[in-house]
Symmetry: C3
Subunit: 493 residues, 3 copies
């Protein structure tokens, strides 16, 4: 009982938070016509693939009906070991889920100090100007690992490096319909370096390319000299003056004839100041005076937390031993999400278990299947099934706001991450202990569905679980031993 | 003087509130083109009528120009005594005004506990599973009566029952352009039970039906088996598993061949746990231990107030004995309105009295005429009259943001309710003691309109009333006796 | 060092503020299609000019691509000495910059008391009704002068008078895509008096006129009787009743055959109650009991500050003696901007100095050139230069959100004001001490651009300035004497 009231308390707090800041401020360019009159939704694999020197970028065409309705654009990046994703920023807020691998990322906020500093050798700051053996300094670097959700605000530049032994796989959802994006609904990446291809080149509104993109593409295909980063549009003399450097170096910034793409291979090892990876060591180092943070606001803001691990089984918010687990991240446990107005949910279903039918009260849900496969049904306001099929590893499926959805694991194990277009996405169950049905008097149910009072009571009270349920719990074929086996599997994955 | 400063204080507080939360977050899909280039607005009666077993549903076509500009959809429901409106939720926030009748409604918030519980007989919760004579429990039930405004957030399911002796008449405005609706601008109702027809079937964008709706309609007309509620799109085996029931019962949830529509007749009396209606009795009962609320957040949030009576004459905010009264509800007296970003105003004009000319500063106003008739003029930015005519009982008229409007009672009595698309809708008078004209120096007025200083002063100071004025006050034909007669009439209505 | 951390602190606070109210609530009607797929941006002079009795109104066609992308409409008004801009309100929030001149303005908030009152002579308030020598009273009047930014919320009426000796020149940006405008994206002015021509008559969506506007225009051209203010759409009998005046006077409000336009000439001197202009005198007068403010909310709200001077050199936020200065106004120093969701920046570049390359993180920037000329380059996400040319006095240039921009003074002196579509517009530098480049580890830069470690360090550390830099500082040709000369010039301008 105590457990259940904690859950209720938690859900109530969520709802209360939504109430108390009325202004999710979400705005939808797609409300214009009938963008969400979806007769059919599909589970989709990426439409487009770009090979870079040290990785690949795959995109889902954002002009597809379901993404137009949800106002999102989706990318999957694979970064090989020692690959570097070049610094860029986007016109949309984005939420990144690390499916696999580990690395570090620099997310640069304007006005924040360079708090990672090489140990001083001799002399002061002037020596930078003379070059040579001077020490470096830069903004905070953040590490990431499998299971992390990383929030990147619109217009904020970032880069990313794989320092592990396996490829990093990262799935990113851009919220193109966010009010934070004041440009049109096309996702855009602005690169500071390199000569990258446009990730969304095939994906413009209505399938047609904008003139600029078409041009860029032609140049690339024609093999002529291309130049796509921000410096390409400036005179080299301007760049030289701005950086107080010679024009030769300025021209190098424009990256002409650089064919490495947006993920490049680091020669040797990437060297920069960073704390050791393990938390204990970090604390020791800090005690040792390595950091010279001024005692000001930048300690609180510039070091803001931008990530949260939702892959770790021990962090589950909803857990049913025989059915699976769900971990959520929203603006209550990751406050930056209030800024970017998105949240996420990571789930695991064990063999034949079911995510009970529900609807998303105040958000779209974009599901990326991480592992295994599930049977999913999605129902619109007419009672029509707009999706009834398999969702497999690597596919994306959109569940529009208010549409009903039910998922059932069809493999040993089904794992997914759902990106939601609200920083406090709420779910309303249709079956189970916290469902809408349970909230209705039995006599209303009996009259509504023309069933007997006894049947109405069964509808309300037969399913005691809240969000996840195993079909085996029904047939009593479930034993403690099975539970332990599943759990061990979960921890080992 | 004290009175007037209270009004000023109140208005100032309203304005201040708007300032301090900048983010009404309202977003308008219709800003795309020229949706508000209205040459002509009309007073309109419902376009469509659906007969259900125990009531009727009338809708105004939301693709009409004035509703496209305001971004709203309007429905009037008549529920016969002992009729039940089936549980459903909508993709838009909605504001309901009870024109007539009384009843109770269940509005189900996810995660809130079932706090209405039948007295325990013997045994604990397990007995629910065995069915039989077990007690029921469900979420809070709210009562409503004539004059109530009820706020229902987007995506929140609710049902409604008429337990009075006369039909319940309820007018609902859906804010389709709210940022809380992330789907397109079509109003949608998602039903949990029954087999209801789509209320807005003729009303899609540009008059054309979406494919799904067309299909549904055809099936209905063809007399073939139809199924429109949320369970229809799910396999009955899935439903059975989700509810832990047999497939037979699961199929009953799909409501095939149920032709009762969305308002059904209750067989016998609807039975559920509820406190007695009168407040005193309620308090006694509570003392008697009937309620077993946990001592947690749900006491504050889950029991949130969702309604406010604005029909009661004694609650008037603006009152001029010889002219009429106005009662407003906004997020200051009903905080949930901050969430759904709407507010309302209830007004009464006595014989020949006038609502002084004004404009809505930050909202559209959708007027529903409850009783009597009035002459109304609406002026656009070009100084053109876009409406100049009668507004009669049962008609709807839209006054777009910033358009000037003046109303004059043309019957014994004119009563209306205005729904506004801002939780703190502000009005700026053009004439009267708190008007814009009064705020301008007399010499500016004299120059602007080329009138004499003495005429300018008359413009400013001849009308001492603030929002409502009787033409009879001018001719001094108004006596204390008349005033008393009107007031008595008001109280008796 | 202390100085730099103050700047950092300040920027951090700004960012923090954006974080803590997530909801700038900005919504963009133009996100629908490809409105920001700009291949070419131009520096533009006004498209349209309307001559009034005592001034001119020039507008930029808001259907131009760059203004459609930014969602703004721009007007420049020139008011001759003793000219009066007639009272009106707009469906959009607006930000006004006073390029030249001085005057006073009445901005009328609904519900605020008339706190400017003529000294009492004899008798009470009744005497207003008898006309004659009675005293006047009205809302607060505000003065303005060159360099002021004035914020006017949507739907709030205002008038303006030039009481100086030179013409007042005011540039106004309307934020048509603001969520505070619930009408469509056309800028509209609702006039209370006069018979003004529509400022944006040539400027409707797609170039075509709406029917209403076309009509108005025809009437005007045909020389027939026209009437364009709000009273024109009401019956004179209604007006008479509303103001409690005779119909003769009511008809005068409709301003028929008034051909003076929206800026009229005051006959003689405009007389109204106002405090003396100098601050000291004002304080003395207040002590003398001239003001009779009630002790209530209106003291805090109704006297809200709506303007801030950003022209005064002593108020610079960023100042580099040899390069120039920048002054910003945002919701931190002018809180009303939180309401209207805009901010502004006033800049001066000295001879050959450069505004370092940067991008606007969360806003569009609409630059109006006040004096001199500059070479400007703007780069889009494809690395294409969408503008590379001169920006001259009196021209407007839009820099869309996230596009990179660099400016260089090409005359003795270049002065500008930038209007931004966010109340806390943030800028991210590409070069200089607080730039994104500086925040990236040198080894990442070296790999990204394939430059040597030493070159990477030069990129990071060669430019020590933050936002403004003089090319001459490079060549060491800059002396203390030159600096003084520039500064003196600045103060004398």
């Amino acid at each position: 009982m105590a457990k259940s009231s904690t859950v209720l308390l938690c859900l109530s707090l969520c709802l209360f938070a939504v109430l108390s800041h009325t202004c999710e401020g979400r705005q939808q360019w797609q409300q214009q016509g009938n963008e969400c009159q979806l007769d059919r939704i599909n589970a989709i694999e990426p439409d487009n693939r770009i090979q870079s020197e040290a990785g690949t970028i795959e995109t889902w065409n954002p002009s597809r009906e379901q993404f137009q309705c949800a106002g999102v654009a989706i990318v999957r990046r694979t970064i090989e070991p020692n690959g570097l994703l070049l610094p860029s920023y986007s016109n949309t807020p984005q939420l990144v889920y690390i499916v696999q691998g580990r690395g570090h990322t620099g997310i640069m906020f304007p006005g924040c100090p360079e708090t990672f500093e090489e140990p001083q050798q001799q002399g002061g700051q002037q020596q930078f100007q003379t070059g040579g053996s001077a020490q470096d300094q830069h903004q905070k670097i953040r590490t990431f690992r499998e299971g992390d959700i990383i929030a990147i605000p619109a217009g904020v530049a970032h880069w990313c490096h794989n320092d592990g032994n396996e490829p990093v796989i990262a799935v990113t959802v851009h919220d193109t319909s966010s009010h934070l994006n004041q440009l049109d609904n096309n996702p855009r990446n602005f690169y500071l370096a390199g000569n990258p291809e446009d990730e969304f080149q095939q994906s413009q509104q209505g399938g047609r390319l904008s003139r600029g993109q078409d041009e860029r593409r032609k140049r690339r295909q024609g093999g002529s000299t291309t130049c796509n980063n921000l410096f390409c549009g400036m005179d080299s003399s301007f760049i030289a003056e701005a950086f107080n450097i010679d024009e030769n170096l300025a021209r190098k910034l424009q990256g002409e004839n650089d064919n490495r793409g947006s993920i490049i291979r680091i020669e040797g090892q990437l060297e920069f100041v960073r704390p050791p990876r393990r938390a204990q060591e970090e604390r020791q180092e800090q005690g040792g005076g390595r950091y010279q943070l001024a005692n000001g606001v930048e300690e609180t803001f510039c070091s803001m937390r931008l990530k949260e691990n939702i892959g770790d089984p021990s962090r589950a918010d909803i857990f049913t031993p025989e059915a699976g687990r769900i971990t959520t991240v929203n603006s209550h446990n990751l406050p930056v999400l209030r800024w970017i107005q998105m949240s996420a949910e990571r789930g695991v279903l064990y063999n034949e278990a079911m995510r009970l039918p529900h609807w998303n009260l105040n958000a779209h849900s974009i599901i990326y299947a991480i592992r295994g496969q599930a049977r999913v049904q999605i129902v619109n306001e007419n009672g029509n099934s707009v999706f009834d099929g398999e969702l497999r590893e690597g596919q994306v499926l959109t569940v529009p706001q208010n549409f009903a959805v039910v998922k059932r694991c069809e493999s040993d194990r089904f794992e997914w991450v759902s990106f939601k277009t609200n920083d406090n996405a709420m779910v309303n169950s249709i079956a189970g202990r916290t469902s809408a049905i349970r909230a209705i008097p039995a006599d209303v149910l009996a009259n509504a569905w023309r069933v007997s009072p006894e049947e109405a009571r069964r509808l309300k009270f037969n399913r005691q679980e809240t969000h996840l349920a195993s079909s085996r719990s029904q047939s009593k074929g479930w034993t403690g031993r099975n539970v332990v086996k599943e759990l061990v599997k979960d921890l080992l994955m």
